[in-house]
């Protein structure tokens, strides 16, 4: 063991395993600046043996994973948020600093550090090496993007750099996997306690302010014969197209429309197929099970409840595939740049654009996609407004009510019928609610302090299948696990409400069930919107997922529960006035009737505060909107020709 420099990190005990007990896992922290390829390496090292949670008390996500070093030995890897320094000004920096100093509750102090830097940008990235090496923990300095460095004619003398830093250095490419075995060897070494800390040749800067660290980094780079690579020519060529004043926006619109079209219509056949598969498997399961309570719970409760979530998986996978391609290729940053000016009008920024677009398919992946927004306030604002975008679960409800109440007639010649116009106006309504909410939030509670918009433009590169695949699996597992478990619970609870109290061994009629009683109980509350208790039951059941209301109303009216069902349309038409129908549409446009979304918001914001605010706000807005719609339509239709739009 070497003598210590009087770095600000202090003198720490350096045994790799301090308490020596075998029970304590060997912990290795992965640290690096944003855009250093940290997550790609983390995925490579851990494969799918990873866990995502939030650090206690903060909204920062904690990725931990296990890497197998020998047949029966595993080490725990902690992926820390991307930071440029350990100043502990932002939440990300505070978390990184606390974990590295062993001050984060629940996370043991790391035994070793993997410091990952982008070697095409070494001068700037080495700045982080100064505070990290001052920690005096065993550290492997990983120079990522070796392939880029070589292809653009840059070079660095690895042994010289290692001597300067007093830490082993590995030149790797996390994208291609080149050199990753060297990282594994190091992890094995630290796990076996074979790594000793050496003193750096170059004294670490004492005062770690950025200009000093940058000068230090430049000197180290010089001594390690670092030659910065030539500018990425292909990136400049591509940028002259993608950021062309005229061509750029055109390509942007084409990309956006293609993504939108694919996730919206492209996923439709797969989703329909999946729906049929789930229904027929449910029917098949039902035929296997003996008649009774158990069968009803399993088939009508569990299977159809979980099925209603799984149906969205194709759309979510496609969406993440697109976002993955856009992000890994580098186009996402350009899209954010182009969208920034428009988004700024709503108090948001360019990076909010793609998540909000995704929300038209489903708010759940959209909210997960907000992780690309580093600015916390902008991210929360985007999360708060994403559920206003007309997601695909609203569509069957809209279609059913519109078909039941609005007679198809031309509005704009052959181009736009009245039913399409109604649907379109609901899209606009959701969008307006989102925009106004964003403005209100961003000019009040989420006012961006002084944090200005800064966006790094990474060089373009080909996305790799491994990286895309890992991300797809990762995100869909999160979706299925989190959203699936909530939906499962809610489905079972709703099933119970619809099936108690039991009469003479028979389930009750829906109006006599607990759900029916709740429907009756809330009737005074929803009567001003023009809804009766039956719609009330539908609203309660749609808390699980919006489209569930169709199935519930189908059960109540004893009809087949699909939006195409003319029987259900007629039944609705008898139950609701035109005002009530429009109120129902407005209610669905505004209300947060989606357990999966709330579960994801809770996860992504790290607590119950934001989901509760969001749910209350959206419910109040939905009630108010429905109330206004009901009364305005009522006043208008009593006198005017609005009756002409009635279907029957």
């Amino acid at each position: 063991m070497s003598e210590c420099h009087g770095g600000p990190g202090g003198v720490a005990s350096l045994e790799p395993s301090r308490d020596g007990s075998a029970a304590r896992p060997h912990v290795i922290a992965l640290v690096g600046p944003p855009n250093s390829g940290k997550s790609t390496l983390f995925n490579r090292l851990t494969g799918l043996r990873q866990k995502v949670a939030n650090f206690p008390g903060v909204t920062v996500e904690q990725h931990t994973g296990r890497a197998r070093v020998e047949a029966d030995r595993e080490v725990m890897l902690v992926d820390l948020p991307g930071v440029y320094s350990l100043e502990a000004r932002s939440e990300d920096e505070r978390v990184t600093r606390d974990v590295l100093y062993g001050e984060m509750p629940g996370v043991p102090r790391p035994d070793a550090v993997l410091l990952i830097l982008d070697c095409t940008n070494l001068g700037r990235h080495l700045i982080l090496a100064a505070p990290i090496l001052s920690l005096r923990l065993p550290t492997l300095v990983i120079l990522n993007m070796a392939d880029d460095l070589a292809s653009r004619g840059g070079k660095v003398d690895v042994p010289l750099l290692a001597a300067q830093l007093g830490a082993p250095v590995a030149l790797i490419s996390a994208f291609t996997g080149e050199g990753v075995d060297r990282v594994f060897q190091y992890i094995q070494g630290t796990a076996a306690g074979r790594i000793k800390i050496k003193a750096p040749l170059a004294e670490l800067p004492i005062l770690q302010d950025i200009p000093k660290c940058r000068t230090w980094a430049a000197r180290i780079g010089e001594k390690a014969h670092y030659h910065a690579p030539a500018p990425p020519l292909w990136t400049r060529r591509l940028d002259s197209i993608f950021l062309h004043p005229l061509l750029g926006p055109v390509i942007f619109v084409v990309v956006v429309v293609a993504v939108f079209q694919t996730i919206f219509s492209g996923a439709r056949p797969i989703m329909d197929g999946l729906q049929i598969a789930i229904q027929s498997t449910g029917a098949w399961l039902g035929s296997l099970l003996p008649e009774g309570l158990m069968k009803s719970l399993l088939v009508d409760g569990v299977w159809s409840g979980v099925g209603s979530v799984v149906v969205f998986l194709p759309q979510i996978l496609l969406l993440f595939l697109f976002i993955g391609i856009l992000e890994d290729s580098g186009y996402l940053a350009r899209a954010a740049l182009i969208a920034d000016r428009t988004m700024r009008r709503f108090g948001l920024q360019g990076k909010s654009f793609i998540p909000l677009l995704s929300a038209y398919a489903c708010a759940v992946p959209a909210i997960m996609a907000t992780r690309t927004i580093e600015n916390k306030r902008d991210r929360i604002a985007t999360i708060m407004i994403a559920p206003f975008m007309t997601c695909s679960a609203r569509l069957p409800v809209y279609t059913l009510i519109i078909a039941a109440f609005i007679r198809e007639r031309p509005v704009l010649g052959p181009f736009l019928g009245s039913q399409s116009a109604a649907l379109l106006s609901l899209y606009v309504l959701g969008f307006l609610a989102a925009v106004i909410t964003a403005r209100v939030l961003k000019s009040s509670v989420l006012k961006s302090g002084q944090e200005p918009f800064m966006l790094e433009m990474p060089p373009y590169r080909w996305p790799t299948l491994t990286s895309l695949g890992l991300r797809l699996v990762d995100r869909s597992l999160i979706f299925l696990k989190r959203a699936g478990t909530v939906i499962l619970v809610v489905a079972v609870v709703l099933w119970c409400l619809a099936n108690v109290p039991y009469h003479n061994g028979h389930p009750p009629k829906i109006e006599e069930s607990a759900a029916g009683m709740i429907g009756h109980a809330i009737e005074p509350l929803i009567a001003p919107l023009g809804f009766n208790w039956k719609i009330g039951i539908g609203l309660i059941s749609s808390l699980a997922a919006r489209e569930v209301i169709i199935g519930t109303l189908g059960t109540i009216y004893g009809m087949e529960g699909t939006s195409q069902s003319v029987g259900l349309q007629q039944a609705l038409h008898r139950e609701l006035s035109l005002g009530g129908a429009v109120a129902l549409l407005v209610f669905f446009a505004f209300a947060m009737q989606c357990m999966s979304t709330m579960a994801v918001v809770r996860r992504e914001t790290g607590g119950l505060k934001w989901p509760i605010i969001q749910f209350s706000y959206m419910t109040v807005l939905a009630w108010g909107g429905g109330f206004l719609a009901n009364h305005i339509i009522h006043a208008m239709s009593s006198g005017s020709g609005l009756q002409a739009f009635l279907r029957f």
Binding site: Y84, S85, E87, R89, T120, N121, L122, G123, R124, I127, D209, I210, P211, R214, T215, A217, A218, G221, E222, Y226, A228, P231, D239, S240, L243, P245, L246, G248, P249, A333, L337, I338, D340, R341, R344, G350, Q450, E451, P452, F453, M454, L455, E456, M457
Partner: protein
């Protein structure tokens, strides 16, 4: 942290906002609150560094700048707060940051 090393903010001091595409300038100081200035410095916007204006979003906002080996986009309002060194004055010695 006081970041103005030279004269106080002159009314006519050029800023990053004034750079034309392809044009280069040497950053003099960041007229921004300390924390924001720090964030920008972490991205390479350090006094004494050469900064080149690159492309921009349609409409010219935000704009992309090449600094310390990477490209960073800033809104115009931010770029206007990053003052450039007087071109006639020689670059101050001691801040050699080429890497």
């Amino acid at each position: 942290m006081q970041l103005s090393f030279k004269k106080p903010a002159g009314r006519f001091a050029r800023s990053l906002e004034d750079l034309h595409p392809g044009e280069e300038g040497v950053l003099d100081r960041l007229d921004l609150p300390k924390d924001v200035a720090r964030r920008l410095m972490e991205l390479g916007f350090l006094p004494g560094h050469r900064i080149t204006r690159a492309l921009a979003a349609p409409g010219g906002d935000p704009r992309v700048f090449r600094v310390d080996g990477s490209e960073i986009a800033l809104r115009r309002e931010t770029a206007a707060r990053l003052r450039l060194r007087d071109q006639a004055a020689p670059a101050s010695p001691g801040v050699s940051l080429s890497a």
